[in-house]
């Protein structure tokens, strides 16, 4: 973040709301669009009070037409607007996949830079609240292989605010993932306008024995695991990726080269997800420094079941990270 230092304790919902408010103040070309985001303030209350302040035109309710919502954003961006869409649940991105992947993400390239898809798609993702198979998914894996798209995934209120403002400022299409389980989590949030640069990871906790790379809800889990293991004499470094595409490989690689051990934690299924991408990159770039294979923490290779008991079995938590770190620590030192 830039310069602001005065902070205030706030939930992630409020931090995002603030970022939207500040963005609307700063950019006359910005508008909000989505289902019931206006007077109602959105399904999770993220846009609350913005309709009252900015009105129908700039806080625009839509019918249940996800493809048209994103298409509208792309078109508006083509003529210099900065639309910010809310897709109520990330699971619904399947309906506007074409618009995101073939339209927004390719626009700038295929028309030789003549248009900018300066739009943000905010959406609530992740499991853990009994939402079942269509309201719980971690969808970053759907979009990882899509050049031209930026994927942002904050883990705490301060980053959420700074990253969202950076996303709004960005001239690229940004998929902004808001983990539902983090909405009510609290943290110190700087007041006023600031941006947290896209494409940069944060070292959420410094350590020397093992690096845990995590995103969104896995970050607090990893920090909890690190805290638990600190008592056992294991020094865990937690890297919060923050931007998933294009991601900050430098910070990840530097950390793993230093610690020689890597755990990658990711809520989505393991096959073909962010965990694979990170594991591949670390394995390739830290080949000579790694004491042992990258240890993975992933969701099960299943949809998300409804029942609490079953959902709990397919989603990773602090325990899984703790055992992954322990496993990594059994690897013999290999001298960095």
């Amino acid at each position: 973040m830039n310069t602001e230092t005065k902070t205030r304790k706030s939930t992630m919902v409020k931090a995002i709301n603030q970022a939207l408010d500040l963005g609307m103040e700063a950019f006359p070309e910005m508008f909000l669009i989505g289902e019931d985001i206006g007077e109602m303030g959105g399904d999770f209350g993220v846009t609350r009070k913005l309709w009252a302040k900015y009105g129908n035109e700039r806080v625009r309710d839509t019918p249940l037409s996800e493809a048209a919502i994103i298409g509208t954003c792309v078109g508006a961006a083509m003529v210099g607007m900065r639309p910010v869409a809310e897709i109520m649940f990330a699971d619904f991105l399947g309906e506007c996949y074409d618009q995101i992947v073939n339209n927004a993400a390719k626009m700038h390239y295929m028309f030789d830079g003549q248009f900018k898809a300066s739009l943000v798609i905010r959406t609530a993702c992740g499991g853990g609240f009994g939402g079942g198979p269509h309201h719980s998914q971690s969808v970053e894996g759907w979009f990882l292989n899509v050049p031209g798209l930026v994927i942002v995934a904050p883990s705490n209120p301060a980053d959420a605010k700074g990253l969202l403002l950076a996303s709004i400022e960005s001239d690229d299409p940004v998929l902004f993932l808001e983990h539902k389980a983090l909405y009510r989590s609290k943290g110190e949030v700087p007041e006023g306008y600031y941006t947290t640069p896209l494409g940069t990871a944060a070292v959420a906790r410094a350590g020397t024995d093992v690096t845990v790379v995590a995103t969104m809800r896995m970050v607090p889990f990893a920090l909890e695991a690190a805290e638990m293991l600190a008592g056992k004499g294991v020094s865990v470094e937690v890297v919060d990726l923050r931007t998933i595409r294009p991601y900050d490989a430098d910070t990840v690689i530097e950390s793993v080269r230093r610690t020689g051990r890597a755990v990658v934690a990711n809520e989505a299924p393991g096959i073909g997800g962010l965990g694979s991408e990170l594991s591949a990159r670390i394995s390739q770039d830290c080949f000579h420094q790694l004491a042992g294979p990258v240890v993975r923490v992933d969701g099960a290779d299943t949809p998300i079941p409804f029942s609490d008991e079953l959902e709990h079995l397919v989603l990773p938590g602090t325990d899984h990270i703790v055992s992954a770190i322990r496993r990594a620590m059994t690897q013999p030192d290999r001298g960095a």
Binding site: E35, P63, S65, E95, F129, G130, A300, T302, F306, D308
Partner: protein
Amino acid sequence: MDESTLSSLYSDMWLIRAFEQGLESEFEKGNVPGMLHTGLGQEATQAALAANLEATDAYFPDHRCHGINALAQQRHRGDGRRIMAELFGRSTGVCSGKGGSLHSADPRAGNYGDNAIEGSYMATVLGVALAAKMRGEPKVACAIIGDGTVGRGEFHESLNMSAIWELPTLYACVNNGYAIFTPVGKGHASANIIDLARGYGFPCEQVDGNDIEAAHAAVLRACDHIRGGKGPYFLEFMTWRWQGLFTGEFRPPDEVRYWREEHDAILMAGARLKEMGWTDDDLEKVEGEARDIIESWIEFAKESPPPDPAKATADVYAGFEVSPS
């Protein structure tokens, strides 16, 4: 409508209301995971549909169709309580707790399952209808959707393909006036959904969804048409949902009063029965029976064990195993 039909539908409506009210109070107590949408206020539409759909038909319920699901499950399988158990996420649920409120299915009851991506089964229903047509089965393939869901492009892809292929598809559009918070006339070019459906050239009818006699007759007409091989049919039920937002009521008091007090499906049907000679006691008895049944279903759900942990990784593929993580 004759008294025995009306009486049976009256019981069905009470079962729905008792189901949803029982569920709502369990939800408030924290006993039901996830989200809750109820069919309260839409009992006549739901009872009319349930009464005309056979076990060999196929319907796709939406998020407010617990009542239809329960009636179908009870009538065709004798175990309506398994719908309740599913909502509690229990092993005795129709999907062993894997689906929940938004994904309950039992094809042997004609219930082909909700898809919580609103409108997506507008496409799926085509395949069930097409298969029936190819096989010469007299199946009605019914998609039950809300007014808001009409915003999805797949609504139109579906109507168009049903039309060109003359499929046995029943579109049951439940126009309860709102999509979450958005009034139907704000979300659509017309507040009358049939205006958006008429272009496809098959019969479209708008009906009072709180008038059980009208609703039942309309569904019967539509099913006859479809079973007669005459292709798709579109019904729009004008009704209203009791449930406001999770945060409370947002609709004008007059509107609330009208629908809950003047134009309530159960009150209106009760009045008709009284015209036919029923007493208040007779009516109350029906309500009481429904509430007893639902109480026992809730009991059953609560006492049922949680799903077998093996279910978590079972059935991802039909042909491959997934190992527990």
